[in-house]
């Protein structure tokens, strides 16, 4: 027999509220710029709202939100690179996070640069793991890869950072 209870999915705002803060931290980290982070956050929420009816597994909403945010961050980085190429003004649109934004000293700034120089998939996986605390299953779902691949990306990122850090 069919289920007689409605079990309606939570309204969109209610569903994403627990993840808004960590999402903002994530896009700020990925874009390295407050204005861009604000725009990316709003765009992520807007696209998530439009796609929300097609989200069949509400339990996976966290990874799903990160997937939207990750794709938008990638698009944003790609567009920024194109713009930079056109106006030959490196760093005009995409600058690394400053020590002030991160709230720390020189060594932290140096580490931020090393992280920014990581391959984008490793950087995304590392940020999701260390900044947001997603588990590997969620990272895999957000990046569209397997759990093993997510684990490998984080591991490789840390390995590379260790190697680069020891050279400094």
């Amino acid at each position: 027999m069919g289920n007689r209870s409605l079990r309606l999915p939570a309204p969109f705002e209610e569903a994403i509220r627990p993840y808004e803060r960590e999402l903002m931290r994530f896009v700020l980290r990925m874009s390295g710029n407050r204005d861009d982070a604000l725009e990316l956050f709003q765009e992520t929420c807007l696209r998530a709202y439009q796609a929300y009816p097609r989200l069949t597994c509400v339990d996976a909403i966290r990874a799903w939100l990160y997937r939207i945010a990750t794709n938008l961050c990638r698009n944003h980085a790609r567009d920024a690179r194109r713009r930079t190429r056109v106006i030959a003004d490196a760093g005009a649109n995409h600058r690394e996070p400053t020590a002030d934004e991160i709230g720390a000293g020189q060594d932290v700034e140096a580490m931020a640069k090393l992280i920014a120089a990581l391959p984008h998939k490793q950087r995304e996986a590392l940020t999701m793991r260390k900044l947001v605390g997603l588990n590997y299953r969620e990272i895999g779902a957000a990046l569209g890869c397997s759990v093993e691949s997510a684990r490998a990306n984080v591991s490789l990122a840390i390995k590379k950072l260790r190697a680069d850090w020891s050279k400094l």
Partner: protein, 267 residues
């Protein structure tokens, strides 16, 4: 191996960046609210009501009733999935109870009971929309055949497609797909089950027998001439079938604004 402690400081939120995040979040929420205004889907009140036809899932939007679904062995969540693409469902039992009450009065023979306007937003195809629009012209106490309904929208020999479209009708009862029957006098199938179709047709005055066959005492009314005849009247048999309705009795035909045929004198 060298320490990677700065990584934790870079990828963690200290008090300074916490204030930044708070401010960004405040601005972000404001911006999202402003932008969502332009794309927000309208709300639809959704609820489950018990009726003599079984449990029904009901959705009512700002422009009228959107969906009635017979929950015979179906999960309500699956039924709501199609609604969610165009509306934001909000649980509201009052709207569902109101619809349930109207259906109870309808089954008791109140021809004016179904007062909600039918909103065909959830109908995807043009063919189905044309059929359902045409079907809404079939009055209480009358039925039409699958073939005649197809003919009426200019799609001859489409009786099977008409049947499929009736099966996918999002608002049964309010858009009366139970008023479509087979040409051989059998009542045909129904999305809510044949027994439900029998109940609905009996409520409209058709004495459907246990073999699910329409009674012999029906009259045929023509939408063009506004005349109703006995089924074997020569005038009725010459008439354009696309505009023929089958009425349960002469009173129903008179109620639909038709007069009796002067040749066969059906009443």
């Amino acid at each position: 191996m060298s320490s990677l402690r700065p990584i934790d400081r870079v990828l963690s939120e200290d008090s300074a960046s916490s204030a930044v995040i708070d401010e960004l979040l405040r601005q972000g929420r404001k911006g999202v609210a402003a932008r969502l205004c332009h794309v927000r889907r309208p709300d639809a009140a959704v609820g489950i009501t018990r009726s003599p036809l079984g449990p029904l899932l009901v959705a009512v939007g700002p422009a009228g009733i959107l969906m009635i679904s017979y929950l015979r062995g179906r999960d309500a969540a699956d039924e709501v999935a199609a609604l969610r693409l165009k509306f934001d469902p909000v649980e509201d039992r009052r709207a569902a109870e109101e619809v349930g009450d109207q259906i109870r009065r309808f089954l008791a023979g109140d021809r004016e009971a179904l007062s909600y306007r039918a909103d065909l937003t959830l109908v995807a195809g043009k063919f189905q929309r044309r059929l359902l629009d045409r079907l809404r012209q079939v009055p209480f106490g009358a039925v039409v055949t699958y073939r005649a309904l197809g003919d009426a929208i200019g799609a001859p020999d489409s009786q099977r497609a008409v049947g499929n479209a009736m099966g996918a009708n999002p608002i049964p009862i309010y858009v009366p797909c139970h008023r479509v029957v087979r040409s051989d006098g059998m009542i045909g199938h129904y999305a809510g089950g044949t027994q439900v179709k029998v109940k609905l047709l009996r409520a409209e005055g058709f004495a459907v027998d246990n073999n699910r066959r329409l009674p012999q005492q029906v009259v045929w009314g023509h939408l063009g001439t506004r005349i109703f005849c006995r089924p074997h009247c020569a005038a009725a048999r010459r008439a354009d079938t696309a505009r023929l309705l089958i009425f349960a009795d002469p009173q129903s035909a008179r109620h639909a604004g038709m007069r009796p045929c002067k040749l066969c004198r059906p009443c």
